[in-house]
Amino acid sequence: MPEVRCPMCSAPNPETADVCGECGARLKPLVAGGDLGLPHEEAGAPGPPPGVEDGEEDWLARIRSQALTSGGEEPTEEESGESPAPDWLGRLREADSGYEEGPPEGVLPEWMDEFIAAGDESEAAAAEDEGLEQAEQVPEWLARIRAKQAMQKAAIPEEEDWLERLRHEGEAEIPAAEEPPSEIEAMPPSEALEEPLPEPEAEEAVQEGLAAEAEPETLPAESPFFAEDLDALTEEMPLPEVQEEGPEAPPLAPEDLEGEALPHVPALVPEDQSEVPLVEIGESDLEGVELPDWLEDLRAEIPVSAEEPEEEVESPDLAPATLPSWLEAMRPTDAFRPEIEIEREEEQPVESAGPLAGLRGVLMAEPVVAKPRMATAAAAQLEVTERQYAQAELLQRLVDYEQQEMAPSEGPAMRIPFVRWAISLVMLVAVLIPFSFERMGMRGYPLPASISPDLAPLIQRIGDQPVDRPALVVFDYTPGYTGELSSVAGAVVGQLTQRGYPIATLSTRPTGPPLAERMFAEAAAAGAQVSHLGYLAGGPTAVQLFSIAPRDAVLSGFHLPREGEEKDPWAIEGLRQVQRLSDFGLVVVITAGTETARTWAEQTHPWIGDTPLIMVLSAGAEPLVRPYFEAADRRVDGILTGLPSAVSYRQLSGQPQLAASQWNAFGTGMLAAQLILLAGGAYGFISWLIRRAQG
C-alpha cells in the first residue's frame, strides 16, 4: 500500500489517511471552501479518524444536548441540533466596545450565519446536520485565542486548561474542532463580533458536555493544525475578555484608564505590587461565557479533573539552555521578567490611545513610551541560593579567622638532652681527673715513644739557620686556639729564643699582636730581641705586599718599648737590613686555619727565596697543608702539628717538657673521646641491625 510521509515528523502513513498517526498533523492540505475532512455521512467523503464512531460524529449535537441536559432539559435531536442563543459573542461585543477586529473579511461560513441569526433573534436556530457540522467548526480566531491561553496555562501548574487537554490528550480526535472552516478566514471581524455571547448557563452545559465527551473522543496528542490555527488566532486577535459569573462587566470607559489603572504588563507594575496574578483562562473563566454547542461538546469530551496534574508541554527535541547557578543568580528578579504575565481579561486595562484604542490586552503605548520607567533597585538584587549563601558565609568566616589574633602558640615541648649532658659530664670529668692522679697514686700517661719522621728534619732546619738573620713569627690564629697552639708553638718559639734569633712578630689578624706579646713576654723580659710589627690588614694582598716590601707594609708596630724616641718597629738590630721577605732567616707561621696557611704558602713564593717556611698548625689543619709540604716544589718546608709532636719536639730539642697534668688531661680526654666514638658506632650499628630486622 503506498505510503505518505508526514511533513512534520516524517512518519509513514497510509495514503488514505488525512492526519498523521504519529503527530496528528494534517497530511492533506485544506482547500478553501472544500471539504474540511470533518466526519460526515456524505458518500465518498473520507471516513472519520480512527477511534471516532459514526454515532459520535454528531458531536456538536451531543454537546448541545448535554448542555440542555445540564440545564434540565432532555436533549432532543432538534434541540441538540439546535444551538442555544450564543450570547457570548454578544457579551464580547459589549465588553470590548471598541473592538473591531474579528475574523477576516470575506465569506462567512454558514454556521456563523447561524450564530448571527441566533444572536439577532436571541433564539437558537434549528440545527440540521449540515448546520451542526458547520456549527461544530470553531472559529479560527477563537480557536487560536483559546489555544494560546491553554499554552499559557500549561506553564502554570495550579490550574488545568481544558483546551490544553484538548490538544494533548488521547487518540480520539474531534475533527470538527481541528478544522475550522475556511469561511472563517474570509469572515469580516465585525460580523464575528456581532455574534452574541453564550449565556453562562449554556456555557456551563458546554463545559460539562465537553467533560463528559472527553473520554471517548479526545484530540490527538498533538494537533499542529489545531495549535497552529489557535496560534494564528491568537496572533491576529487579542484574547476576548472572559467574564466570570455574575453581572456583566460594564465596558471600560476611558476615564477608567486614568490614575491607578496602570498597564496590565507586570513588568511595568510598580514595586509595591509584589505579585501580579497570572492571567489564566481556565474553566472558571469560561463559566461566564456562553460557549457554542460545538465548544461545549469539546469540553464534554475531556474529563474534567480539578486535580488532574497539569500536563507538561512536551519539550522540543532541543534541550533548553541551562544557565549556571551563578549566572542565574545575577538575573534581576523584579526589574525584568522573562515572560510577560498577562492578567485576566477583566483586569486588563483598555487602551485609550493610538490605533488600538478600545482593545484590552494590548501593550499600552503611553505608559511604555510616554511615561518614564522608574529604575528599580530590584535590578541590583541577586538571587542567592542556599548553597551560595552557605559558601559566602564560609568565606566570610575564613576571612574573619585570618584577621583574628592568634594566641601565642606554646613552644615545643621541652626535651631534656640527656645524651648531651652525659657526654658533657664524661668529657669534663675526663679532663679533670688527671689533676687528682697524684692524690690517687696513679701514674700518668707516658710520653710518646714514636716520633714522627718529619720532626728531626724540622729541628735540623731550624737549628741550621744563621742567627744573625731574624726570624719572622706570624701569629695568625684566634685567641680560641691559644690553649693548643701556645703549647705546640711553644716548642718552636722556645728553640728560637734558645738559639737567640732576633724575632719579629706579625699578624694579619687584629688579635695576633697581643697573642704574640703574651708568647714572647717571658723571652722579651729575659732579654731577647723581639719586635712586634703589629697588625697587617688586607689578607692575601698584605702578605704579598709584605713579601715584596716589608717596610712599606708595616709602618708602625705593637707594644713597642716606650723608652726612647725610636718607635720604629724596624729599629732593632736584627731587622735593620731587612728589605724583603727573603732577608729573614726563618719564617714560622702559627695558624689554626687552612686558609691562612694556604695564603702564606701561595703569596710568599718566590719572594721568600731560600728562607724556610715552617708551619705550626692545629691538628685539624694538617691534612690540607701537607700537600704543600710533600710536593717536589715545596711551598712549606716543615710542619709541626699536635701536642704529641710538640712533646716529641721538646724532647728532641732538649727543651723543658710540658706540665704532666696537661699531658695527662690530654690523655684522659682522648680516652673519653675514643670511648664515646666507639659507643656511638656500636649504638649506630645495633640500631641499623634492628631496623633491618624490622624491615
Binding site: 645524651v419 648531651r420 657526654i423 658533657s424 668529657m427 700517661y445 707516658p446 710520653l447 710518646p448 715513644a449 714514636s450 714522627s452 685567641p479 680560641g480 691559644t482 690553649g483 687584629p510 688579635t511 697581643p514 703574651r518 697587617l536 690588614a537 688586607g538 689578607g539 694582598t541 698584605a542 705586599l545 715584596i548 712599606d552 707594609a553 705593637f558 718566590p606 719572594w607 691538628a619 691534612p623 690540607l624 701537607r626 700537600p627 710533600e630 701536642l643 704529641p644 690530654f666 690523655g667 682522648m670 680516652l671 673519653a672 673521646a673 675514643q674 670511648l675 664515646i676 666514638l677 666507639l678 656511638g680 658506632g681 649504638y683 649506630g684 650499628f685 640500631s687 641499623w688 631496623r691
Partner: protein
C-alpha cells in the same frame, strides 16, 4: 651617570687587577732598577699599599655600621635590646680606650686578656663536646658506608694520635701510630690535594670573572 660610573669602576678594577696580576709572572731579579718596568713595578706596589689601607678603612666602616645597628636596637628598645646595650658598652669602652691609649696599653689589654680571651677560648673548648656528640650520633642517624668510613678513620687517627685506649710504647701504639701517619699523610693527603686543586680552580675562576668585569661586587651604580 649610572652607565658611566659602572663602566668607570669596571675599568678601574680590571686595569688595576691586570697590573697586579702581571707581577706574579715577572721575576723580581729581572726587573731593572730603573726604567718603565720599574715604574710599573712601583705602581703595582703603590696600588697594593692603597688596597691595604682601604682594607683597614673598610674594617672601620664595618664597625661603624655594627655600632649603628645596635644603637638603633637600643634606642627603639627592640627585642633583645639589653644585650645590644651590653655590646655597646663593651664596644665603646674598648674602642675609646684603645684609640686614646693604644691597643697595647695595659688598660686595653685587660679587656683582651680577661674578657675576650677566656670567652673565645671557652667557646673553642665547647667544640670538644660538640664534636664528641656529633660523632656519637652520626652512625645512628646516617648508617651508610661514607659515615662508617668517616667515623672509622677518625677513630683510627685518634688511636694513633696520642695517649688513650692504646698505651704508649707498645706494639699496638707503633702500629696505630704508623697507621695514623699513613692515613694522614698518604690517603688523606691525596684527597686533600684534590680538594686544594678544586679550591684553587674555583678561586681562579672567581677572580678572573671579577677581572673581566663579569662579576661586579663593587656595585652597578
Amino acid at each position: 651617570m649610572r652607565l658611566g660610573s659602572y663602566l668607570l669602576w669596571a675599568a678601574v678594577a680590571t686595569a688595576v687587577g691586570i697590573l697586579v696580576l702581571l707581577g706574579y709572572f715577572v721575576q723580581l731579579d729581572a726587573i731593572p732598577a730603573e726604567g718603565w718596568l720599574q715604574s710599573i713595578f712601583q705602581l703595582r706596589l703603590l696600588l697594593m699599599r692603597w688596597a691595604v689601607l682601604l682594607a683597614g678603612v673598610a674594617l672601620f666602616v664595618g664597625l661603624i655600621n655594627l655600632l649603628a645597628v645596635h644603637w638603633s636596637k637600643v634606642s627603639e628598645q627592640a627585642r633583645g635590646w639589653g644585650y645590644s646595650a651590653v655590646f655597646l658598652l663593651a664596644f665603646l669602652a674598648t674602642l675609646i680606650l684603645g684609640l686614646i691609649f693604644g691597643p697595647d696599653s695595659a688598660a686595653v689589654l685587660l679587656f683582651f686578656n680577661y674578657i675576650q680571651m677566656p670567652v673565645e677560648t671557652t667557646l673553642s673548648a665547647l667544640l670538644a663536646i660538640t664534636l664528641a656528640l656529633a660523632g656519637f650520633r652520626l652512625l645512628a642517624r646516617r648508617p651508610d658506608l661514607i659515615s662508617a668510613i668517616f667515623i672509622g678513620t677518625a677513630f683510627l687517627v685518634l688511636l694513633g694520635s696520642g695517649p688513650g685506649l692504646i698505651p704508649s710504647g707498645g706494639m699496638l701504639d707503633s702500629f696505630f701510630g704508623g697507621l695514623r701517619n699513613w692515613l694522614a699523610q698518604v690517603s688523606a693527603a691525596g684527597g686533600a690535594r684534590g680538594i686544594l686543586l678544586g679550591v684553587a680552580l674555583g678561586s681562579i675562576m672567581t677572580g678572573l670573572r671579577v677581572l673581566l668585569a663579569l662579576d661586579r661586587p663593587y656595585g652597578d651604580e
